[in-house]
Structures are given as C-alpha cells and as structure tokens.
Symmetry: C2
Subunit: 526 residues, 2 copies
C-alpha cells in the first residue's frame, strides 16, 4: 500500500481524456498533476518513545519486530480518507506513530498491552490501514508515546469446519489472503468491500465492514460467529453457538469497537462453498425512486441476488459504476442497476428468474450482462482514480449513511442539497453522485461520491462541508455511518447517534476493559 | 393465565388412555390426579411494602393501578417452569411480589424506577409471566420490598410503516394481541414460540425468544430494528437504521437483558405482509443423524422453509410432535420432520420444490401434509399436557441448547446420557426426547423433553438433574440456553458461557444504568 495514495502503484489510474473533459466542463478543474512528494522528502516528527520502552517492547516481540524507522512509521501514519491523503502532501513535520510493533500470538499482544498500560503508551491496533474516518490516526492524547500495533503476523487459517461451514481466521489476514486460504479448501467468505485488497479480517470486524456481496452473504458482522479479543485486563472468547439466549450478545460490543476495547486476534466466520455458477444482469430504471422501489421489492420478497446496486441519475450519466467508462458515452439513461447471482446452477437460475420477474414488474429494462460485468471488473479501482483527481486539483471524497426505505428519498435529497450548497459556499461547483449498494428488508444504504474543485486549503474546505453534511444526516434520521465506521472523524456525532446514555455505557465498558485508556485514544467514544 | 398451571383452564388436557398406558409401561407412573390447591388455599407472605411507599406508587400510577391484594400478587409470584409449578402446590407460605404496579407511559415507568431506587425497592419487570428459568422470581435481595412492574398497559401498535416493513409495538402486547393489530392492516410479525398466547413483545426482546417460524422469519432478536428502554438513569432510543457501523450495537446489550438493565417499553420490528399461501409437508428419515444432515443441507442452501423441525427416534416413537396423538399408534418409524412454507403462491411453490429436492436427496421419505398439519394444530398445547403429567405424579420438564452442526450429535448424546443417568440415580426410569426446532447455516438448537417418575421431593430431584445437565452442556461446548434465557436458574453457568471478563462487562453496564441495583435482582448476572 502506497504511503500517500491508494494501493499498488502499478494499478494507478491516470485521468482519461473523457474524465479530464468532464472535470473541465462541470467543475472548471483543468489542473495538471501537481508535483508529488517522495517518501524521503516527508519529515516525520521524531519518535517520542523512550529507549527503555523500546527495549522492553523488543524483549516481548523480538528486536526484529519493533521499529522506529521512518520507513515503517510513515505507512502507518494514518488512513486513506481524502483529508488523510491531502495531509500526507505537507512539507511540514507530519504525525506518525512513535514505533511499529508486530506481535505474534495473543500472549505477546497481552504483554505489549500490559507494558503500555504501565508506561502510559497509547496503542493503535493496525490492520490494512484503509480507514477513511481517521480510525488509525496516531493520537497521543496525553500519553508518553503512541505505537502502531500491526496485526499482520496473525495470518493463519486456524480451522475450517466444513460441516458447520465455519472458519477461524487470523485477524491480520487481508481479504485476498483469507480468500486464497479458503479457496484452496473449496470455500469462500464472500466479503468484498472496496478496501478488499488491503483491509484485514480484524479490521472488518472492528469497523462493521460491509461488502459488495452483502445482499447474498450479509454484512461482515452478520458473518461473525465468534471473536477472540485481547484486552488490557484479559482475553475474551465470545460466541459459543450459532444463536443463544444467554443474555446480551457481547460479540456485538466488540464488533465495531474500532480498537478501543481490545485487540481482535481471531474471528470465527460463516463460510460457504465456492459458487459453481455466477450470472450477471444490468438494468435501467427511469428514475431513482422507481429503481429504489424495485430493489426494495426484490429484497423484501427475498429472491436472493448476491449483489444488487442502483446508481442515481448523476452517477449513471457519468458511468461512475463502470470505472473504465467514466465520462465517456453514456451507457444508459435513467438509473443503472447491477445484479449478480451466485450458487449452484439451480440456485442461480431460480434466484435470477425470480429477481428478473420482480425487476420487470417494477419498471426495469434489462441491459443484459455487459454493464454488470464492467462494474465487477472495475469494482476495486475507484480509489485509484481519486488519487489522480486530487493531483489534478479536484476535491473528491465519499460518504455514506443508511435509513428505512420510506425515508430514503428524503435523506438522499437533503444530503445532496447540503453537499451542493456547502461546496458552492466554498467557491466550487460540484458533482454529487449517489448509489444504493446495501439493501435490507427494512431499508438501504446511500453512498455518495462528491467531486468539486479544490478551493483555498482543501482540507479545511472539506472539513466545513463534512460537518454540514453530518449534521444533515443525523437531523434527517440517517445513521452517521453505514459501513465506514466512526474513527476520529464521526466521533462528534456519536452523542446524537446513540444518545448521551449510550455514550456513557460505552465509556463504562471502556473503563472496565481498558482502565488505563491506552487503546486507540480519540476514536469512537466522544 | 392460571396461577398454578399453564394457560387457560378451558384448554386443560387430561391424560389420554394412550398416555396413561405409556406412563405406566415406561416409567411405572400410575398416580391419579393429585388433589389441587385452590387459589384461596394458598398462603402468601404478607406484603412487606411500607404504606408510605404504596401511597407514593399510587401517586405515580393512580390508586387503581397498584395493588397488594393476594389475587394480584399470586399470578405474578413466578414463572412456569416445572419447579415453579411444583412450588405453587405448597401449603407453606409462598413468596410473591409485595405489590403489583401497572404504569402507563414511559414517564410513569421512569418515576416508579426513581422512587424505587430512592426507597430501596426491587423491581421485577413483568410481561406474560411465562419464564421457565425463574426470570420473574420476586427476589428481594436485601431490598425493602419487591414489586412486580406489569407492562400490560403498553398495549399499542404505535406505527406501521408499510414501505419499510416496520412496526413499533408496545412492550406489553401479547403475541396474539400484536398479531391481531398487525393482521388488521394486512401484516404479520411471524413470531410463534410455544409461549405465544401469553408472552409479550417486551418479554420476547428481553429474553431473546425464538419462535417456531424462525427458519423463515428469524429469531425475535433478528426482527428487532429499534428499542426504547427506560433505565433508572435515563431513557434510550436505540437503532437508527437497518444497519450501521456506528460502533458497538447497543441494541444487542438490551436484547437478552432480562429486565436487569432497564424496562423495554416499545420495540420497532420488521414485519411482512400476511402470507397468501401456506404449504405443509412432513418427512421421515431413517435416523436422527440422517435427518439432521438433511436439515443442514436445506438451511445451508437457503431454500427457504418457514418452519423446519426434526424429532429424534424417541420423540417420533411417542408422536410427541403431534399433541393429540401422543402415545397412540406410531405415525412413522425413524425420525419425523415437519416443513411449512409461507409467502406468495410463487414463493411457496419455489421454496417447497427446492426443499423437497434437497430432503429427498438427503434420504427423506415424504409423509404428505397431514402430520405437518397435526403438528401445527397442537403446537401451543404441550404445556397443558405437562400440568396433567405433574398432577399424575410424573416429572416433566424441557431444556434446550444449541451448537454447530459438526458438534450436534455429540452434544445430544452427552445430554441424553446425563439426563438418563441422573434420573436413574434419583430412582426413576426416564423418557428423554429431543428435537431440532431452530436451524442456522452453521448449527442448530436441541430441545429436550424429559418425562420421569417423581421421587421424593420432585423439586430437589429435578434440581440435581438440572445441575448435572447444565454442566454437561457447557462442558460439551453448547450454549447454556438457545431461547429460554438465563433468569435465576441458569445464572450459575454464565461465567462459563461468557467468561469472567464477560461477566465483569455486564456488571459495568449494570452499574451504569442501574446504580442502585433495583432492577430484577438475582437474575442473569452472577
């Protein structure tokens, strides 16, 4: 993962002529690629970790598994939000963790946490570093130092129970590593968020990730059968049965806990046999409301698509769902929807047919396979495009929420208006695009992509817009985040999300499992 | 609901000649109906509530909504486990709440809790009183007095959102009341546990109930979109969206909280249109392992039955699944399975056909509709039979657990052996029967029905057996309860279920929301 951009440099996506034309026409952005810093031009604040503590950490994990080198600290200096990437361009001294520690095994994690509690060192659990909400920011918060606790050595498929359809996976496995280990045994997890190539099993659990196949295989939290969590006061092994009435479900306290309650070391997950067959069909709907009602009908009937998404008119007009065609000739008018079906041949045929009937009845027109395959082909590539947009002087960011079906249209309108007005206020026209990518019987997510022109300090420009849009989301009954998590960025809205008493409950849990408060300070809990 | 037995006296089920024959032959139980106490023969301990407190409560809820009369205290003296019913037969002074209070509205609940915290009065939230784990026992626990807080006046359908498929229901609505209000609008919740006729919406949430249609509509906790909870320190309104990544899911702390964290006053639930069509098919499998593998195949493929259950050989031999045929001519050899399908005509046809194919492939033989309809006809009647069995000198009780598919057979064998051996030790032969009634992709529940002869003090006889079988369940990796909850009876096993640190987390939450500890003392948290 690049330190100042998304992913693999070899996959970088320069702006096509189509996109350049769109930027110039819609937003007046005509900038060329700005000059980039190289990693060795970046100045990091020197490590504040006392030598004695460094030695003590080395005694736990081994000298080769702890580092204060800039080359190790820089890639763990933050996540991958647009403000993160903009901050990474600064020639001023940048924040970074004071050391990177790579434990192997729960005993080493427990020993590191005990040491850090004693010596007042903050600990940021680190998986793939793909947070877009400041979830891995190295916030010192009054502690002596802050370390990045990298879980990459928790990289095993511990067990696969083919009868129960459960696998225990190490928290440090990335999406592709996990799927490769399972595929070798004929199984699949089926969790494909946009961060798939880099994010980890532990990170998916700690942030309640949701993948593009959520219609078929559920959100990540729905796949979790058990969790092992090392806290500063002891280790938890949660989840004894597929379902239980033995009181509150404590797994649900650690799912979404974002490293503030403990370090997730292993996750027991529902897995399924690799699908034998996959079918694709894209659809066009005259407008977003009609398309949303169609998706709702499918989901409430339970006809079983694996993927189901709907782009709004603006997203459809610029072909945003098909990364390679963005800004080119419009593939369809109205609103594009994508469906994918997986399973045995019989299942796929039955699910596809029932879904077709429902979508046709709801006013859809089939576009055949090709646009759905084009979506799948480029589905992990959008973040690369953002890097090129930022370099060209555009501001590009995403945000998301969810609400009930009955409230969806109103929330979408309110968010779009706020984004447009706030960017206008900052001096820029904007392109606000939206899609539904996760559906539930009672509601759906809304995922917004915003492109504007950078004006003044783009970090401050976006901060103003982001505050306005978060206020709009909570005022309109949406959740402050459907799958990006809270981190540092959404923390000011947690009081409204769960109420003041809800926050007090989180604090009480925090005080119990992390009495010294060393775990990921400044995140999640206001 | 009768004070000393299940349900409606008019539905009492005297033992048939077939059942009497079975009891005599298998267990040597030949007793006649023992003499029964009438309600006015029961001696309750006098109310310990000081007059001043009674007046203060009356000032909050109104004088007509608070009572210390024995006629009101007796029906709230406990739940409906076999030990409960046996205790109710005692001519010694019996425990009961010191008063019954019926608040209307959250403000009255909050005021009652504030008063009770101040005056050191314990509060037992009370719904239908159908707990079989001591969940509503009037435990004083060092407080001045204990009151039963009856929620029956929370009896409204607050809202029905037909687009999102969500309804907000008052916590005090019983199963039939809730379904009647929804049916009038064309909707259904679809939650049918055996306690359906008496248990309440709030009770279902507080105990993580699971209904017989769970294969189709999910457990009760899976239906919950939002909760309103009044605690002694404030009111929570949880659940903003169909899904969220805004940190831990606090709904999951209050689902299963059994009245120890707060009083659930309203629940927002997923509902579905009343099914247009219902199809039934019963099946026979040569043995339990084959039947369990068949159910597993169906559930892991997701073919969509609404109900799916499998009786083991012993249950099948006595026709336990068909209440009116128990002890009569054996309906089928091997193991009986029941499937029911609901939905539109197209859905039912598709789901039924896919399920048939899977069950046939797994070694099932169709028995047609009739045994499945017979199961449905008697599905809420088994508790009535227990009353007659107890009166005849038999010991009859149920218990349940859940585990992964791979561990199911071993757990079933271990529990059966422990039950048989422990009852043998007590001096009685026994009939141990088991069925699977709730299936998940990764595992299933096991529900045991035990019949033996009463020996000595049957309460003590069962207590010894129950301890042994709970130890066996946790030692073999099962959950201590799949849907009966913890209450007072399973509390000693909570340490093993969630670990010592898990228990500390529950205590920390308890101290935050109920600092005086007045809410349902002696339940859930060890």
């Amino acid at each position: 993962m690049k330190w100042d951009a998304w992913g693999d440099p070899a996959r970088a996506k320069p702006l096509s002529e189509d996109i350049k034309g769109l930027l110039a026409a819609a937003l007046g952005v005509t900038g060329d690629d700005a000059s980039q810093l190289t990693a060795d031009q970046v100045v990091l604040r020197p490590s504040a970790l006392p030598d004695e503590d460094l030695k003590a950490l080395a005694a736990i994990v081994g000298p080769s598994q702890v580092s204060t080198a800039d080359a190790d600290r820089l890639p763990r200096a933050g996540g991958k939000s647009t403000p993160d990437l903009l901050r990474r361009k600064s020639r001023e001294p940048q924040d970074a963790p004071d050391a990177v520690v790579l434990p192997a095994g729960e005993e080493e994690v427990a020993a590191v946490l005990a040491l850090c509690a004693e010596r007042r060192i903050a600990v940021v659990p680190f998986g793939g570093g793909t947070s877009v909400v400041g979830g891995v920011d190295p916030i010192r918060a009054g502690f002596t130092a802050v370390i990045s606790l990298d879980l990459r050595r928790f990289d095993r498929l511990h067990t696969l129970d083919e009868v129960s359809g459960e696998a225990v996976l190490g928290a440090g496995l990335t999406g592709p590593q996990a799927e490769e280990l399972l595929a070798a045994r004929g199984y699949e997890l089926g969790h494909y968020p946009q961060s798939f190539r880099y994010a980890t099993i532990g990170g998916f659990a700690a942030t309640r990730s949701s993948g593009q196949d959520s219609a078929g295989y559920g959100r990540f939290d729905e796949m979790v059968r058990g969790l092992r969590v090392v806290t500063p006061v002891g280790t938890l092994d949660l989840g004894r049965a597929p379902a239980s009435a033995a009181g509150p479900d404590l797994r649900e306290l650690f799912l979404g806990s974002e490293g503030v309650f403990g370090v997730i070391t292993a996750v027991r997950l529902r897995v399924h046999p690799l699908p034998a067959v996959r079918a694709y069909e894209a659809w066009s709907f005259p407008d977003f409301a009609t398309g949303a009602a169609a998706l709702r009908a499918v989901e409430q009937q339970g006809t079983g698509p694996t993927v189901m998404r709907l782009s709004d008119e603006t997203e459809t007009a610029v072909n945003l769902a098909m990364t390679d065609k963005i800004g080119g000739a419009q593939v369809t008018g109205g609103c594009l929807a994508v469906t994918v079906f997986e399973g045995t041949a019989e299942q796929v045929a039955a699910r596809h047919e029932l879904t077709r009937v429902a979508l046709l009845a709801a006013g859809g027109t089939s576009l055949g396979e090709e646009p759905a395959r084009a979506w799948e082909h480029g589905r992990f590539d959008a973040p690369y495009l953002r890097d090129s947009l930022l370099a060209a002087g555009a501001l590009c960011e995403t945000l998301e929420t969810a609400t009930g079906w009955a409230q969806l249209e109103e929330l979408k309108t309110a968010v779009t208006q706020t984004l447009t007005a706030a960017l206008q206020e900052s001096g820029s026209a904007s392109l606000v695009m939206c899609h539904i990518s996760h559906v539930y019987p009672t509601g759906a997510s809304l995922y917004f992509t915003v492109v504007a022109a950078q004006q003044g300090d783009p970090i401050e420009q976006w901060a103003v817009v982001k505050r306005a849009v978060c206020d709009t989301i909570v005022a309109n009954g949406g959740t402050i985040t459907h799958h990006h998590a809270i981190g540092a960025d959404h923390r000011p809205w947690m009081d409204q999300e769960i109420g003041e008493l809800g926050v007090r409950i989180l604090r009480a849990v925090k005080d119990t499992v992390d009495p010294a408060g060393i775990l990921n300070p400044g995140k999640l809990i206001p």
